[in-house]
């Protein structure tokens, strides 16, 4: 038997080692956040949000079309993904206890781990290869395919959280099953589902890889689904890998804008889910 003092020392050592793990995770995070804010803030101005990108060598210019493009892509993705993702989640929660449910749940889990770049190839094959040109529709479809599994999983989770007594009470009052699902269960789970939607949208807005060869990019404003579209993320990528100092600065500023967008969505989701939790208790 080793001495107590030695065993206590070992205990202390591993406690410190686990604390080192925390530090190893927090230092890069702090560095990243600080640099995005400090480098990015210098370039912030009203015109950065409203103007088109300026050509190399010209000062000024912004990422207005990128912001609009990201919103357009996310909107297209949401129109496709919300009904399918939420519907599939409701299916898993209400009818998902059989064989088919198990299979679909498993496929959903596996799909949510498929790399986004692979999904980009799928959207390319489905839309770009058939239409013979890049388009916002292809980019939106890629983002939708990424959102569906996530949405289905979290919707299932939130619907299952609704107390069974609510459903029983509604059925006992003679309300048909479909109305119970729609007006009682889904309405109770609505806060959670909205949280899930906000998180999925935030993730989609930050995606770059599947957009590179679906939505491509665009130097100008675009609101049409069948045209190539700029996006904030692809813009950041192009600025970052360019050889120009000025464009590097713009990459940092655009990164700050993207981080703010994603941050606001996440914050909203957090506030909503907290209110919901407190309301339920």
């Amino acid at each position: 038997m080793t001495s107590l003092r030695w065993r206590k020392f070992v205990d202390r050592f591993w406690t410190l080692a686990s604390a080192a793990g925390v530090l190893a995770a927090l230092v890069p995070l702090a560095s990243l956040l600080w640099l995005v804010v400090s480098h990015g803030a210098a370039g912030l101005s009203w015109t950065f949000f409203t103007n088109l990108p300026a050509p190399v060598g010209e000062t000024g210019g912004g990422v207005g079309n990128g912001i609009v493009g990201t919103l357009l892509l996310v909107a297209i993705a949401s129109v496709i993904a919300l009904p399918v993702g939420i519907g599939a989640g409701v299916f898993l929660a209400e009818k998902g206890n059989g064989r088919a449910g198990e299979l679909i749940r498993f496929v959903t889990e596996v799909l949510s781990g498929v790399p986004s770049i692979v999904i980009g190839i799928v959207a390319y094959g489905l839309v770009v290869a058939r239409m013979k040109h890049f388009s916002a529709l292809a980019g939106g479809l890629a983002l939708a395919l990424l959102m569906i599994p996530t949405l289905a999983r979290s919707t299932e989770e939130f619907v299952r959280l609704v107390p069974g007594a609510l459903r029983e009470a509604s059925l006992a009052l003679g309300v048909p099953k479909w109305k119970t699902s729609l007006l009682v269960i889904l309405r109770t789970a609505a806060g959670g589902i909205i949280t899930a939607v906000l998180l999925a949208v935030a993730r989609a807005a930050g995606e770059t890889a599947p957009l590179l060869f679906t939505a491509l990019n665009n130097q100008y404003w675009n609101l049409r689904a069948d045209q190539p579209t700029a996006s904030l993320t692809v813009q950041i990528f192009n600025y970052a890998i360019s050889p120009y100092e000025d464009w590097h600065n713009k990459a940092w500023t655009a990164a700050l804008v993207l981080l703010l967008l994603v941050g606001v969505l996440n914050l909203l989701a957090r506030i909503l889910s907290r209110n919901r939790m407190e309301g339920a208790r």
């Binding site: 070992v10 205990d11 050592f13 406690t15 686990s18 604390a19 080192a20 793990g21 925390v22 995770a25 927090l26 990243l32 640099l35 995005v36 939420i86 599939a88 409701v90 299916f91 898993l92 009818k95 088919a100 679909i104 496929v107 959903t108 781990g113 498929v114 790399p115 770049i117 692979v118 980009g120 190839i121 799928v122 390319y124 094959g125 489905l126 395919l145 569906i148 599994p149 009052l173 003679g174 048909p176 099953k177 479909w178 699902s181 935030a202 807005a205 930050g206 995606e207 770059t208 890889a209 590179l212 491509l216 990528f237 970052a240 890998i241 590097h248 940092w252 993207l258 981080l259 996440n266």
Partner: protein, 327 residues
């Protein structure tokens, strides 16, 4: 619509009769929801069919073995060998796992077992923030902050201390396998840590309490009671992290150096499967080139699906308590 009188006791038809009032609403709802559920399978089928469809040209033209094990990649001369990308993906993911698993397990243990309670919430929040940062921003930070740091401090240090190993020889340019592996480690850390945390929560309290009651220190209780029980789940968490690392695109593309070569040195620039797809797909020079890139995607898809399926099985095994034999 059921009439209000239906629900008052003793008046109107029997409550059982109500089932016949309108079966169509229920049927339509059931069918609609089932179709949406089934659409998940359709999505999976579409993914498989399109990947196969786009890459078919390349499979026919190039041949499987020559494609997978060829080390020449020169689209202009129609040479497509996938080996440099497969190699780069494996090397960078290995670095990521080797760095991220101990850090995330430490992090999860700190949050669930060892750290002061007041720190748990803020640290947990920070990890959520880390998970929410878009990959292109990691790439930006990696390119302008981490790469210069590696070039000027870390790589010279490693070469001075471990330079006798081929891993740490050669010119130090910052961009390369090491940079890509480290940025991946940071990115997959939240995944591994949060899944590990979930797994640790499922460990029965009695196991730990038993160890503590027998006089174990906190670490001994973790090592002898908690970790053996949670081990399959932690392996599952690592596999999930590995799946993310293999498919992660933007950050790697920005720091790996994008050179389709195979080097023993971790300091050398390389290439990865997702990175070459990201860089070349939009400007691919013909059907075979597109097909070859899509085939790389198919390889990536196959590996990640297998890894994820395995990870799910392991994680479920722990949360269902089937891992008792593993202790």
């Amino acid at each position: 619509m059921p009439q209000p009188s239906d629900t008052t006791a003793g008046v109107g038809p029997s409550p059982l009769a109500r089932a016949h009032v309108s079966p169509w609403g229920d049927r339509a709802w059931g069918a609609g929801v089932s179709i949406l559920g089934g659409s998940i399978l359709v999505v999976a089928g579409l993914i498989l069919a399109e990947l196969g469809g786009v890459s078919l040209v390349a499979w026919k033209k190039l041949g499987l073995l020559r494609f997978l094990f060829g080390s020449d990649w020169d689209p202009v001369q129609d040479k497509f060998g996938a080996l440099p990308f497969i190699y780069g993906t494996l090397v960078t993911s290995t670095i990521a796992i080797v760095v991220a698993v101990p850090v995330s397990v430490g992090l999860a243990l700190f949050l669930s077992e060892m750290g002061p309670k007041q720190l748990r919430r803020p640290v947990g929040f920070a990890i959520e923030v880390l998970a929410a940062i878009p990959s292109v921003i990691f790439g930006l930070w990696g390119l302008f902050v981490m790469v210069p740091w590696l070039r000027e401090s870390v790589e010279p240090f490693l070469q001075a201390v471990l330079g006798f190993l081929p891993l740490f020889q050669g010119p130090m340019i910052g961009l390369g396998y090491l940079a890509a592996g480290l940025i991946l480690a940071i990115m997959i850390l939240p995944t591994i840590a949060s899944v590990t945390l979930e797994v640790l929560k499922t460990v029965p309290l009695a196991l730990k309490e038993g160890a503590l009651a027998l006089g174990a220190t906190r670490w001994e209780a973790i090592r002898m009671a908690v970790l053996p029980y949670a081990r399959p789940g932690i392996v599952g968490a690592a596999l999930l992290g590995l799946g993310r690392a293999l498919g992660e695109t933007m950050a790697v593309t920005m720091v790996i150096g994008n050179a389709p070569d195979i080097h023993a040195s971790l300091f050398a620039p390389g290439y990865s499967l997702p990175a070459v797809i990201a860089n070349e797909f939009a400007e691919a020079t013909g059907d075979v080139h597109v097909g070859a890139l899509a085939s790389l995607g198919l390889v990536l898809f196959g590996i990640t699906v297998l890894l994820n399926a395995l990870a799910q099985v392991l994680i479920r095994a722990v949360s269902r308590g089937m891992s008792r034999g593993a202790a």
